[in-house]
């Protein structure tokens, strides 16, 4: 079984979000980058398939040379090889088309991609990728088992979950639940050392256009201070929620 895990290189949640160049670009200055959490859940499950079912795991990212440490981290966690498509990830459509090119040429059985990334929160890439390559797609995946070419996949739905029977190849939108947080791995020294010698192939992008363009970024207006209410005067809270906020 060949698994491709799509990795987004995203700012850590605790990062200060600032913009530069006339508020048209994200300011990466002083920002700590990590593997997108939803991708890391998928990567961890892929490593499980490697250890239990002999899967071969490739990680892929669309980004500049500055994203390579994130790919190396994925290799240190246990992926076998990495691919970097050497392009600025312009938008979901652009990234999905770049990835589709690799998937078409790579005969992967499973493609994992986080259901959404922490930076632009678009939630576009896994679905678009599946439609571009003609694979079946299951989003918001909370569990997957594979037996031969059959897969049982658990999908989160509003207010519960459903079990789906599907046939490989598949694109899976991953999230917490496919593995739990406690299953996530911190690379050990041996992993870090071997990651240095694993193959990291750099591919040039195919010529496609983005379908959207970020015109400008903006930070939310500063929030007014919290209104503190005396715990002995809860009528005041109810009054505010009813007459001021109008939510009850």
């Amino acid at each position: 079984m060949k698994i491709l895990v799509c990795i987004s290189h995203v700012p850590d949640t605790t990062s200060k979000i600032n913009f530069t160049n006339g508020d048209s670009e994200f300011d990466t200055n002083g920002v700590q980058f990590v593997i997108n959490p939803n991708d890391e859940f998928g990567l961890t499950r892929a490593i499980w398939f490697k250890e239990k079912q002999g899967a071969q795991v490739t990680v892929i990212n669309v980004g500049g040379v500055d994203t390579e440490p994130t790919l190396r981290k994925a290799l240190a966690i246990g992926a076998d090889e990495a691919i970097r498509i050497n392009a600025n990830p312009l938008d979901g459509t652009f990234v999905a088309k770049q990835l589709a090119e690799v998937v078409k040429n790579g005969s992967y059985d499973l493609v994992f991609a986080g259901k959404e990334s922490l930076d632009y929160n678009g939630g576009m890439v896994p679905g678009m990728l599946s439609a571009l390559v003609g694979y079946d797609f299951i989003n918001s995946c909370e569990g997957i088992e594979v037996d031969g070419t059959s897969a049982k996949v658990i999908r989160q739905i509003d207010g519960g979950k459903e079990t789906i029977a599907a046939t490989l190849p598949l694109v899976i939108g991953t999230q917490k639940g496919i593995v739990e947080e406690k299953d996530l791995r911190i690379p050990n020294m041996r992993g870090i050392m071997t990651a240095r010698t694993k193959a990291l192939t750099v591919l040039e992008p195919i010529g496609v256009e983005a379908a959207t363009k970020a015109v400008k970024f903006e930070k939310p207006a500063a929030k007014s201070a919290v209104k503190l209410i005396d715990p002995e005067n809860l009528d005041e809270l109810i009054n505010l929620l009813h007459n001021e906020a109008k939510v009850i």
Binding site: L118, P126, G127, M128, A131, D158, A166, I248
Partner: protein
């Protein structure tokens, strides 16, 4: 040329997000000088859409579409958009619509902008405001393609009445075997409970509640408010509550009208997941808890005393106001 929306229904009845989409699309259609067409799949009575500005409904009734199937539903929407020559398709941010939208976008060769929180800033060029960086910023995006798909964030526009003279047309899209290559074998759903996704009000508990045995008072508070129950990540990690209730960055997102956080300190990952809620109330003993920085209303106090009292007061309030 009209604007196409997918009016989601459950057991034949429209979801609130369907009416919100209709209201939003009506406003956009008016500014663009066009009309709103809705697609419904196995909805029982589509006339309700005429109260929210929908001009025309493509009624799909098909037993093979009884359970949600992203590929087939995307095919339906694609064919409907082509039939109507729609240049703009508006979807919601429900789990199902988030699943569908990228498939529809590829099918129509359309650019897709998700998490849209306001009316388009301009329609030519087509620019929309979206949340990004887990609600820590907004991204003004231009969609560059001829056909456009947008996903409206929940509760970002609201439901606005607007009476239209609705026309209906039965619509039978052409579906193929490949649309049904996956089979849903089982569904587990909490019954009789308000889900976090649908709730207008969410009551959420954290580690400050000291143990799962203390959730009764939150359940009562949620009951009075018709709210869904949620919890912080530590609470779900400790197995005090099911992870179905975990909200935050790695849990479910919340975009409620009112979010009440009890005994939750407000870690940045938690806030990232709930911040698009309109009004936030925090109840916590620690006045330094970070949640107070993002809340609208705060009570510094012991949840074990405040919550039962608040529930009683709310019962009195509801009795008077209903």
């Amino acid at each position: 040329m009209s604007i196409l929306i997918y009016a989601e229904s459950a057991e034949g009845k429209f979801k609130k997000v369907a009416l919100e989409l209709a209201s939003y699309a009506k406003n956009v259609a008016t500014s663009m000088g066009t009309t709103v067409t809705a697609v419904t799949i196995n909805a029982t009575d589509v006339s309700e859409l005429g109260n929210y500005g929908v001009d025309r409904v493509l009624v799909v009734s098909n037993d093979s579409l009884k359970t949600f199937n992203a590929k087939a539903y995307a095919d339906v929407l694609k064919q409907a958009a082509q039939k109507e020559a729609a240049k703009l398709v508006v979807l919601s941010s429900s789990t199902d619509s988030l699943y569908l939208a990228p498939l529809v976008a590829v099918g129509l060769d359309a650019g897709y902008a998700s998490n849209v929180v306001a009316l388009p800033e301009s329609t030519s060029p087509f620019v929309v405001k979206r949340t990004a960086f887990s609600n820590k910023a907004f991204n003004h995006s231009e969609i560059l393609t001829d056909v456009k798909v947008i996903g409206l964030a929940k509760n970002s526009y609201g439901v606005v009445e607007s009476i239209s003279s609705l026309t209906k047309e039965d619509f039978s899209p052409v579906l193929n075997d490949a649309d049904f290559s996956m089979k849903v074998e089982g569904v587990e759903k909490m019954s009789g409970k308000v889900t976090i996704a649908d709730a207008d009000i969410v009551v959420s508990g954290g580690r400050g509640l000291k143990g799962p045995e203390n959730w009764g008072m939150l359940e009562e508070l949620a009951d009075v408010l018709g709210a869904a129950l949620a919890c912080s990540k530590p609470v779900s990690d400790l197995d005090w509550r099911s992870h179905e209730e975990h909200v935050g960055q790695t849990g479910k997102p919340v975009a409620a009208n009112l979010y009440i956080a009890v005994g939750i300190s407000g870690a940045i990952q938690h806030i990232a997941g709930i911040n698009s809620s309109k009004v936030k109330v925090v109840i916590n003993t620690d006045p330094e808890a970070p949640f107070f920085k993002v809340a609208d209303y705060g009570i510094v106090g012991d949840a074990f005393q405040v919550v039962p009292k608040l529930t009683e007061k709310l019962k009195e309030f509801k009795a008077k106001n209903s």
